[in-house]
Point group: C2
DNA sequence: TTACAATACCTTGTAAACCAATGTACTTAT
DNA sequence: ATAAGTACATTGGTTTACAAGGTATTGTAA
């Protein structure tokens, strides 16, 4: 089963905020987590997630810190700012409104 | 309450197919019907709906006929082809899958 | 009667979202 | 040694929706 690219538009940002709200996470991990949590349906590419993280950080919804791990690799960990938590709450309520409106429109005939 | 442009992406086509499935409709009427059915939330412009109708017709999901009404105006009525009915069924099931996956990802933490 | 709102069709240009592809660099498994 | 995995990043293309503009007619309010 596949999720069409078009339907996804707009929701990816919310899902990114949502997964970060639980734990401090790095980009590559978020991609794998979204895949896992969605039951292997969402296969976001790096070209999708990294720009979203950069945007959310530039808008102060996220902060980041670099961590050097033993083997020489570096990870950039993101967490929500207070402003990001507010955005998440607001986005979740928007998401609910949105699906309600669409469902009403689709099925109230 | 406003529905963000980004979330809407992809769903407008489905809603257009959905409203036409019940009755033969013309473009301007569809805009008003979507507004009405969504409880005054969806205010699709003509620049959104007309291109979708043209696309769906070019892909043979819709057929159209012109009707001259008394006062000199002309309306272009659209209805679903068998292929369009199939697309609608398929799109509705995609929509359901999509919201399920997003909700799982958002709320199963 | 003159102007505006509404009906009804249409197109063009722009911004945003996502993905595929590509690039770098290091590590681990075969 | 070669491929796959980890982990960061950017560029270019497609699609979606909207704002703004255009044509033409009818109905209404000033």
């Amino acid at each position: 089963m596949n999720i069409s690219k078009e339907l996804l538009k707009g929701t990816t940002k919310i899902m990114v905020l949502s997964v970060i709200s639980d734990n401090e996470l790095y980009g590559y991990q978020i991609i794998k987590l979204l895949k896992e949590r969605s039951g292997n349906v969402l296969k976001m590419g790096e070209g999708t997630i990294y720009p979203i993280l950069h945007f959310l950080e530039s808008e102060k919804y996220l902060t980041s810190r670099w961590e050097n791990i033993e083997n020489g690799m570096k990870r950039k960990y993101y967490s929500l700012t207070p402003s990001g938590k507010k955005l998440l709450t607001q986005s979740l309520s928007e998401w609910k409104n949105f699906t309600d409106v669409v469902n009403t429109t689709l099925f109230n005939s």
